[in-house]
């Protein structure tokens, strides 16, 4: 890697950090603007004016918003995410185990769907126009057109209610064997994979076909190269940038997807926690969850960009 590439990568990382600061401000501003007053909800029936005022002062809610923002930002930087309003536990302790569960779900989905999606996309491009290509295209367009809550509820209806093969709800802490794990994860993973794979298949196919139409691939064909060699040696390395970007975008969609899927299957992940936090106006928890999602998103996109920069032969 030469100096120029290093410079580009560093510039990209600086942009990521700047974006993160802007995002944190937006997250904070958005949660402050949420309707409803925490103090009144917390105190419930006991919300006398004196009690409200006292609690407000104790929670620093009377300080200017910008002060609270900086205090919150400083807290995050030092690993202190605040105390949950709802049950007085440190936010970090609440999120910790849930995050592990969500990462497990996302990780299994990634390991399951990325190889399948990429190989389907590449082989569809290789045999462009064949019945296989058409089947893949029709299926992926069909899947991408159906929203995930529809896929999830249909899956519950078919596999849990009628066929009774799988449990309708996923309790990740009940796993004691590999078989159980399969049964618990099958439906959420399949639902999420459906949603993110379609996008990856389409984008991979398009990127590979675009490079297959270039003069250098025609040249390789006229050198006598086989179809596999054309795709794997000539087209794929040059399509890597767009493919990695498509994968990153699809994986970032997992973040939105888990909110719906975790809720439907009652899976104990961060997204479920966040949805519950919204209904109890638990601001520190919502803020931390939102920041977490944004950071993962940013991490994926930045990684994709850096891979695209490093794999660009013109920068070697």
């Amino acid at each position: 890697m030469n100096k120029h590439v290093l410079h580009l990568v560093l510039a990209r990382l600086v942009i990521a950090v700047i974006t993160l600061v802007i995002v944190s401000f937006t997250v904070f501003a958005a949660t402050v603007l949420l309707p409803g007053d925490v103090v009144e909800i917390l105190l419930g029936q006991a919300a006398t004016p004196e009690a409200v005022a006292g609690l407000r002062a104790a929670m620093h809610l009377d300080d200017p918003a910008i002060w609270r923002f900086f205090r919150w930002l400083a807290g995050i930087l030092t690993g202190n995410f605040g105390i949950s309003y709802a049950n007085n536990m440190p936010v970090a302790d609440l999120i910790g185990p849930r995050l592990l569960n969500s990462l497990k779900l996302a990780g299994i989905t990634t390991v399951f769907s990325v190889p399948i999606a990429l190989s389907l996309g590449i082989s569809a491009a290789m045999w462009r126009g064949s019945w296989f290509d058409r089947a893949v295209t029709v299926l992926s367009i069909g899947v991408v057109s159906v929203p995930e809550f529809m896929v999830a509820t249909s899956a519950v209806l078919v596999f849990a209610v009628y066929l009774k093969w799988l449990p309708a709800l996923s309790f990740a802490n009940e796993i004691h064997s590999f078989g159980q794990m399969l049964r618990v994860y099958a439906m959420p993973v399949i639902t999420l994979s459906f949603v993110i794979s379609a996008q990856m298949i389409r984008m991979t196919r398009a990127a590979v076909i675009e490079t297959l139409n270039t003069p250098y691939v025609e040249m390789a064909l006229l050198k006598g190269a086989s179809r596999a060699r054309l795709v794997l040696r000539h087209a794929l390395p040059n399509a890597l940038g767009p493919i990695v970007n498509a994968v990153a975008l699809s994986l970032s969609y997992l973040l939105g997807g888990v909110i719906i899927v975790e809720t439907i299957f009652n899976y104990p992940g961060v997204a479920k926690l966040m949805v519950d936090a919204v209904s109890t106006r638990d601001l520190p928890l919502i803020q931390t969850c939102a920041m977490l999602f944004c950071m993962v998103y940013l991490l994926l996109i930045t990684t994709a960009d850096i891979i695209a920069i490093v794999s660009n032969p013109r920068l070697k």
Binding site: P215, Y216, M219, L221, L222, K223, G224, N238, P313, R314
Partner: protein, 553 residues
Amino acid sequence: MANLVEIRDLKVEATSDAGRVIEIIHGVSLDVAEGEIVALIGESGSGKTTIALSLMGYARTGCRISGGRVMFAGRDMTQLSEREKAAIRGTDVSYVPQSAAAAFNPAQTIMDQVIEITRIHDLMPRPEAERRALELFRALNLPNPGTIGRRYPHQVSGGQLQRLSAAMALIADPKLVIFDEPTTALDVTTQIEVLRAFKSVMKKGGMAGIYVSHDLAVVAQIADRIVVLKGGEILEVGTTQQVLDAPRHPYTRELLSAFEPKHYASPARPEMTARKPPLLDVLGITAGYGPVQADGLPLMRALKSVSFRLEEGRNLGVIGESGCGKSTLARVIAGILPQAKGDIIFDGRQMARSAAGRQKEELRKLQMVFQFADTALNPAKSIEDILARPLAFYHGMNRRQREARVCDLLDMVRLPRTVRHRRAAELSGGQKQRVNLARALAAEPRLILCDEITSALDTVVAAAILDLLKELQRELGLSYMFISHDLSTVQAICDEVIVMYNGEKVEEMATGLRQAPTHPYSRLLFSSVPKLDPRWLDSLELDPELVSAFARR
């Protein structure tokens, strides 16, 4: 013995986007003997590349070999399976592409691609293949043959890539090499080097070749026989000498006549013009791209202190190779790229640096016509809309006046009035360029900047455009600044020529007087233009010092 190649009654069909099937090659038959070089010549759309590719059993996407036989070394390429064809490609027949820059994979080193044929067909161990490649690099006169293979395609020049693509085609000692316009994208001074290298390697190896080109003079240097094609049919076949000296078909004669030197004399004008101030006076222009440095000049200077003047009613040619700054010069005069230093005085007035700072009347008198009519005409608008816009903008015409004027303009550029309802995509390249010109004329300018306006056109079409420009000049008293890389085009229309090299004006001369160029670079440039004489390349002696100083290898 039988010929190496025997094509009999070849027919190729193409399916249009609308799904219509059209025959684009109508029963072509031709032979190539062992060790013979045959040229396929014709304009774009004549089917020359399609025929050449059929020799590899290949038809581009949307095309299909629909009839006839393509016999190569006794086997019919149209009957072989994909696997059998792949086995022949690269080893027995190989291909040198038109644009080597696009035909190299940007992600692999040059050596990997040059020896790829030996890897695919498992012909020899890698070290031996690399040794062969090195020999070819030397034979093709490439600089730094020992290390060039380790570089990536974007790190070497266009002329080098073109020679490297020949090395790629020759690595497995093929019996037949197909050259598809291999020098069209190159500058003339580079073209000579590449042609010489091709010729000597082919002669030494005793290989047969198919040389596809639209340029008769280039073909005359390398081919034994010439096949003239038009619209997917063979019009004439003969030895090179025969076709050049005694062409039988009128179309061949038309092609040849495009090469006759035409020297231009501008219409007779009163002697007083000399005393009038010049129409355009360019004084010490420096311009470029990139961040501005401490001295107020841009980092990359495309023009360095260029000055010239153009008298009313006369034409100025600007020639030079790619990257010499000739297009930048037009962009500066038009105000698209503001200059960093220097002045432009047009029609007696100092022009603002940027077009945004110029008055409407100043803009009207100075119009520009771009090289690619395809990209210069809005594809979503009808020709009438395109031509009506300057009429409304500069002359404030109402609807009825505009309609009448659009018809006048189409008459002027010799297009039928019915094209006004069509869109640019429905017109041919020559027609589009005429519309492009009509748009400039709509403003009723004094000076038109023509930036390579005939470069993308076929010879015969380009000649017709030049004739049109001359007629318009007689009728309307225009002046042209004509930018081109092609000396003969400039000679056909200009009174004076300036030669540019590396952002500087190196020479200024009149075309009519047959005056010899004095600057060494112009001498090299002028002597590098191929002549129709088949002995020209072999007898040409260029000063090697001159070549190494100026030619971009």
